[in-house]
């Protein structure tokens, strides 16, 4: 493995793309996120792990306003997330998201799934949008399925289409919300391979996952969340071999069996 080299190829720049300061969120009375501070640089890749209910999904869903935070600030690409709808739509166009359950649009063909965002949000001409779509479908090795419907594809293929769909919007940041959790074991690899390729090209990525192998080989920083807080944030080497927080050690001992 030449992980070190790989990291160097696309090392983070000095420019911040996401700045989160003292962000809190409640679901009713439940305090899900308790003061998150997180800065992400361009081309940086972050893996967030933690037990279920720790708030990791909620955190990344706040970044594109699928969830609304109640205190603190989130700044994405220089724009602050407020109730300003226009701003939210602009930020969402810059932030791609891949979901656990793919969430492809089942009534549209694969290529229409991909071209829809560029055509309607970016106002790209249809023909050009479809060319872009084919380009990204080739990139995720699934171009031959372009005319099919999502229901005709396997889970792994659907997730790769979902990644391609986000890429078509040419996003600054990609958020992955447990992208492999709903997949059969033999399909996980094909999705992770696509994500690794993406990492190699210098995409800014925040990935919520329990795929520790992926974290080790791709992440610049690995974080552990629990009780709505980021308990540990470290380089992969330090995180796995020399964790500072007791909670991390416990988590790793459970997950790595």
């Amino acid at each position: 493995m030449n992980d070190q080299q790989e990291n160097k190829i696309a090392s983070p720049s000095d420019e911040n793309i996401i700045e989160i300061t003292d962000m809190h969120k409640w679901f009713g009375d439940f305090h899900v996120l308790q003061g998150i501070d997180l800065t992400v640089k361009k081309k940086e890749r972050i893996v967030i792990c933690g037990p279920s209910g720790s708030g990791k999904s909620t955190l990344i869903r706040c970044i594109n306003r699928l969830e609304e935070h109640q205190r603190g600030t989130i700044i994405v690409d220089g724009m602050e997330l407020t109730n300003n709808l226009k701003n939210i739509e602009k930020i969402r166009a810059e932030v791609g998201m891949v979901f656990q359950h793919f969430n492809l649009f089942p009534h549209l063909t694969i290529i229409d799934n991909l071209a829809l965002g560029p055509i309607w949000v970016r106002k790209v001409p249809k023909k050009q949008a479809e060319e872009t779509a084919m380009h990204y479908l080739e990139k995720v090795h699934i171009a031959e399925q372009a005319k099919k419907y999502p229901g005709q594809l396997s889970g792994g293929q659907q997730q790769r289409v979902a990644i391609a769909r986000s890429l078509c919007m040419n996003p600054q940041v990609m958020l992955f919300d447990e992208p492999t959790s709903a997949l059969d074991p033999e399909m996980i690899k094909e999705v992770l391979d696509v994500m690794i390729e993406l990492a190699r090209e210098g995409m800014t990525m925040i990935v919520v996952t329990h795929e520790m192998g992926f974290a080790k080989s791709v992440a610049h920083r690995v974080m552990l969340m629990d009780f709505g807080q980021i308990l540990e944030s470290n380089t992969p080497d330090e995180f796995f071999d020399n964790a500072q927080h007791e909670r991390t050690k416990l988590f790793l001992s459970q997950i790595l069996i």
Binding site: L85, R92, A93, M97, N103, H107, W120, V121, P150
Partner: protein, 364 residues
């Protein structure tokens, strides 16, 4: 080698003769056990007792072209009540010598509907064709321009009136219902409760009373000198009524959509309008095609209630014919005839909906 041998063996085994062919089918479907055999025999006897007399009544002993008194002599059906009075049934009080106008209007309408059945034909030109077609139909029915003599809407009747009430009723009620369903899901409290109150109020009232209100009570609120066409008021009542039912059906479809579809659309930066138009509604409306068509079909039949506010729809014209002393006692034949007309309308709708469902099925 072993595999080959097994393959030939399996392909040579055929199902027992008793399970296939006519005998197998009869055994499985007609004489499957004592109870089912008895049922089959009873059914056969009933069919034998009813079908032949019905056929001879309707076709063999029937009279097709005769006067009323002659009909009374005959034992079979008196279809003459239709052949003699069809123009009154189909066109009502529309001036006799001008009835070619509603005829052409109905032909244009049915032609357009028929052509629009195929989704491959849906284009903006078809839209223009509809606009022009409706305009021509309006001129034909109403007259008063060019050399066409003006015909008041109170003289309209029969099939054109029924088609007008139902087709306009349904095409306006459907989008209105969708908007109401979306409104009911709105995060804006005022809009939400406005829609809830509207839907619940309308659904809580029978169509008959709505028609009465539109026809007798509503005019009392209009300023003096202002009158609104009776036909238009009935049309509006039908639209408002049907829309409330469509809204509830569509709401069911909207609730069947997963949160993930909204999130995927929103996370791309699609706004509310585009999310609904491109992602949510195409799926939700497809899911609810069967119940929607049920609502539309019953709305189509309910247009016959306009009889009570003395509009001359198909039902009313038929009743007029059978109240004619010469044709007294032949209501069966007359009702069978308009039942057939209604059935044709309803059956085409449900056929179309099944076709649409199949075409829109993408395997999810």
């Amino acid at each position: 080698m072993e595999n080959t041998i097994q393959d030939t063996q399996t392909s040579e085994i055929k199902p027992p003769i008793i399970d296939v062919g006519v005998i197998g089918w009869m055994k499985a479907n007609l004489f499957d056990g004592v109870f089912n055999s008895i049922l089959t025999i009873i059914t056969l006897i009933l069919l034998y007792k009813t079908v032949p007399p019905l056929i001879s009544w309707a076709f063999i002993d029937s009279t097709w072209l005769s006067t009323g008194p002659e009909c009374k002599e005959a034992t079979g059906a008196c279809w003459s009540v239709i052949t003699t009075n069809y123009r009154l049934i189909l066109f009502g009080l529309y001036p006799y010598e001008l009835q070619w106008r509603p005829l052409i209007a109905v032909i244009i309408l049915i032609g357009l509907l028929f052509y629009s059945k195929d989704r491959k034909h849906w284009s903006k030109y078809l839209g223009y064709a509809w606009i022009i077609g409706l305009f021509v139909m309006g001129i034909l029915m109403r007259g008063g321009v060019l050399w066409l003599k003006s015909v008041e809407t109170s003289e309209w009747g029969g099939l054109p009136l029924t088609l007008l009430l139902s087709i306009f009723g349904l095409t306006v009620a459907y989008p209105l219902g969708v908007i109401l369903a979306l409104g009911r899901q709105s995060k804006m409290t005022f809009i939400k409760y406005l829609c809830v109150v509207y839907i619940e109020l309308i659904r809580g009232v029978p169509l008959i009373s709505l028609l009465f209100m539109s026809s007798f009570i509503f005019p009392l609120f209009l300023p003096e000198g202002v009158t609104l066409n009776n036909l238009l008021r009935a049309q509006v009542a039908i639209i408002l009524f049907t829309a409330a039912y469509v809204a509830e059906v569509v709401r069911g479809g909207l609730q069947g959509m997963s949160r993930g579809q909204y999130e995927a659309a929103e996370s791309m930066g699609l706004n509310y309008y585009l999310t609904m138009r491109l992602i949510i509604l195409p799926q939700a409306l497809r899911i609810v095609i069967p119940p929607t068509v049920s609502v539309l079909i019953s709305a189509f039949k309910d247009t016959s209630l306009v009889v009570i506010i003395s509009l001359w729809d198909l039902m009313k014209t038929t009743q007029t014919v059978i109240n004619d002393p010469q044709w007294m006692g032949f209501s069966r034949e007359a009702y069978i005839f308009i039942a057939l007309l209604y059935f044709l309308g309803c059956f085409s709708m449900s056929n179309f909906s099944r076709k649409l469902e199949k075409e829109l099925d993408t395997g999810y």
